[in-house]
Assembly symmetry: C3
Homo-oligomer: 393 residues x 3
């Protein structure tokens, strides 16, 4: 008799806590305790833009005085969308009855009301505080009394005149900006260095650097703010490629360029922003010389960019997009059979669950700062070429 057929399988399920990001969900409440990137700076202009983040629809604009604003889309009066609003010096004016809202939601004009709104302080358009940093608009979408300080990221300190910081938001090295899958499955992939050996090297051809074909020694270490992975590869010349990646709670990761075009401490870090439960946008912030390209161009299989691949070439030369989106809009945890290569993934999930529990219990999660003096994120990730003797672990 045939065994193990697909007949009679139970209905698959996913772990809701790991994947849900909407208001009120345990994960959504954890993610809302941090400043989250919601758009590139150039998306905030005098023409209102539709933004979606953590399952919420919002309107982003920049008033004529240069201030970015992030407002709930439905006007608090009769509900017309501010997407059709008119951006002015002091804010955005609803097209329907002309109410004018500042970037903090206060109503500063009601042209059809007596005295242009003698009671207008009673009305306030729902809004979120924003912070502009290195080309990204960050928003704080959590409880107002827990708003943390926006931290300094030390790898961007002391920028030279010949340097600049750029934002790269193509998913998976040159793919679409928006990936149609849950954020957690792309995030935990950061702590799965084993797949690099298969997906990016032996199966699809060398997508990053041929040195990654060398089988590494891998270990993971928990940190108060997240976790670190070490991968050591013995190079032909007797040296060791000591590659360090880190993951910072809840949705930041620091992955030195896998093309190895940058050695030493990493020049970039990134955030996996959950657009909603089934869509993700990854923003990488990268420091570089002005006269150099960001990194090796992403090229697949027959020397094509991701967008130029035919459907069959996507099948023949899959990369991160195919592997992660290929897990479905939301991967089904009930069907997983974790193995020894999934130690990092398990640690990511354990840490995330711990932090959800802390927030649910009323506490403050790891890695948020309330004292501006302490608000520094010091990054350790990098691609290091070292002597074997210098490896302490």
């Amino acid at each position: 008799m045939n065994e193990g057929t697909a007949y009679g399988r139970p209905e698959p399920t996913y772990d809701r806590d790991l994947v849900e990001v909407g208001p009120g969900s345990p994960g959504g409440e954890l993610l809302r305790r941090y400043w989250q990137p919601v758009a590139r700076s150039e998306e905030a202009t005098g023409i209102p833009a539709r933004i979606r983040a953590l399952g919420e629809d919002l309107i982003l604009f920049r008033d004529r005085s240069g201030r970015p604003g992030l407002l709930y889309p439905r006007c608090c009066h009769r509900g017309t969308t501010l997407y059709y609003g008119k951006v002015e010096d002091e804010g955005i004016r609803c097209c329907y009855h002309g109410w004018l809202f500042a970037t903090d939601g206060t109503c500063v004009d009601q042209p059809c009301e007596p005295d242009r709104g003698r009671n207008r302080e009673r009305y306030r358009q729902p809004w979120y505080p924003v912070h502009e940093y290195n080309g990204l608009i960050f928003a704080y979408m959590g409880p107002p009394d827990r708003q943390p300080v926006f931290p300094r990221y030390d790898i961007f300190d002391d920028l030279g005149d010949d340097e600049e910081i750029v934002i790269i938001d193509h998913f998976a090295f040159g793919g679409p900006v928006e990936a149609p899958c849950n954020w957690f499955q792309t995030h935990e992939n950061s702590m799965d260095p084993y797949h690099v050996f298969v997906l990016h090297t032996t199966l699809s051809g060398i997508q990053f650097n041929e040195a990654l074909e060398i089988w590494p020694r891998i270990n993971f270490r928990a940190e108060p703010w997240g976790m670190v992975a070490h991968q050591d590869r013995d190079l032909p010349d007797g040296k060791v490629l000591h590659r360090v990646t880190e993951l910072r709670l809840p949705n930041m990761r620091v992955i030195p360029t896998p093309t190895l075009s940058v050695l030493g401490r990493t020049n970039n870090l990134s955030w996996a922003l959950p657009i909603d439960d089934t869509h993700t946008r990854v923003y990488a912030m990268l420091r570089k010389k002005k006269d150099q390209p960001p990194q090796g161009l992403p090229v697949y299989g027959p020397g094509k960019t991701w967008f130029d691949l035919t459907e069959e070439e996507h099948q023949l030369y899959p990369g991160d997009y195919e592997a992660q989106v290929g897990q479905g809009p939301i991967t089904l945890h009930s069907e997983e059979r974790l193995s020894s290569t999934d130690r990092g993934v398990s640690m990511v999930r354990r840490q995330y669950r711990e932090q959800m529990a802390i927030v649910a219990a009323g506490g403050d999660p790891a890695g948020v700062f309330f004292d501006p003096e302490e608000a520094v994120v010091s990054v350790v990730a990098g691609n290091y070429i070292v002597d074997p003797a210098d490896l302490t672990e």
Copy 2:
């Protein structure tokens, strides 16, 4: 601490009674007590057409003898759609087994049954009575024992040889025929004259007539059949522009052309037909000289028609379509903050709720006629230029 942010908002809701139009809903039952326009006359032809009205799918055709018919789409035998039926002198023949139905649903031939259907009087295709008037097909979709007389509309009396009546069914002055939003939000906009001053004048540029930039005195008056709004504007020459609009229960409105190209009593009236809960089609019936265009051509912002505007131009020069569809497929009443400018809107809702209650209690709603002698709708709306002394109120 930041106040009024969008964090922690309750789930928004809408008032189901105001918006639902399907069979059995309070609003749907009220709307079904009136003759409703469901198509232009030229849509009823020898090729069956799919029609949707009040959330019901129907098939419209015109038999070879010239009679329009409106039938339930699924053949009462085995359910094939009559969209593929063959129109004949006496009705429409189902393509599957050839049953022939007259415009009143009676079955007049069953070619595969003994004696071509010796028991065919037992079968009847569900149907609705229709009435053709001035280029529109009206249907009565309510309880048969409450079917009212189709009334006369006095503004169309005594048509001269040089005159004609035309139907205009572009939403919001030149937009699409079908608007993807609930009918009630477009209907109550008729009793919101304040938005004219902003949306159609100061914000998007003058869309109708520059006289509408003058701030009006506005009042509303309830009538047994609906309500009337008066807007008085002091013109530079000492006269007053006395503009009267009316709304007739449940979904008719009489809005004199806002371009002011027609003075005196209105030459048009219109119905907001709910296609279903999230789609609306507005039919305007308009009397005019044969050698003149219906009214000033609808032109937006940079001198373009609605369809020619780019997405950004729709944002920069919004009109009724953008403001009303911009409230969403169904506006969310729980989030509204009504103000002094919403007196008319509140009256529209109150009257509609009163009529729903009357119908739910078994009564006949306002404005339906059962005696042909009394079935006259006498319209009062218009654009009147008057001496201030002649204004009685």
Copy 3:
């Protein structure tokens, strides 16, 4: 007062048992007890293909040794789809971590695990047994302990050197491969010979053969394996066209070509595969001379193929596609009014319900074979020209 209007109709419903095909539904369990065609042979290649059958998504491929494989799409490790897998000599390798699965789901390599998977026998990719026959891939998707023998179909015995067997999978004579409707409504149409007289002859013009315009004597007979319909037409020359069609439980039917281009015993039979509850694919298997076309070309109304018809021509010259898809994604049984012409349809339903009950009670349904010696399907259908005296019934 008007009678029989569409006002106040009850909510329509369908008979779930007749239409549902998913795992665990009574019909789905019956259908799963038979080998079902899920693809043409040429769809199984070195590039994985997405297949959907009985509401289940699967991956079909052919390993480099020539064996077709049908696997559950999500890798049993971390759930990435095998659509991006790499086909090798021994099976298909998941793109993410390189696990290699044979066509029977066994895991034969785990490159990132110790010793390339010293515990890999613990993992098995869910799979289904397949059988390739005359150009089709059949799968057995039922309980493993009830897997029947794949039978011989006698009309394909003793193929001559100048003959071949071809697969035709266009729905309804030249339509799309996939029909957007439930399988049962297309299946029961096979036992509704009355519609031939209308749909295919008098209403749309002669679609098959003018002899079908002659009114037939029709009778139905139940058989242990399904049912047979006899249609006898008196030809002008005194002979009788004795047309025999058969339906074999649960979803096979044997319909001699209605163009009458083949006389005598049928040269073809077909299966209506439920893709899911609302999509159907019909596979016909046809024996023919190599130098002849499969049958008369399907041509509609103005001499066009189905795909070339305009929307209006589909309305004017409807065929099986329009009549069956026109019943909706799932026809609504609560609205049917069966008549004397529906005797065959009623018998189809009754037999199908009987077999569902047998399977639900733990038995084996009609027409499955467990003894290879007995596994022969002997077909009786055909277009026979006979003397009236030779008709026994």
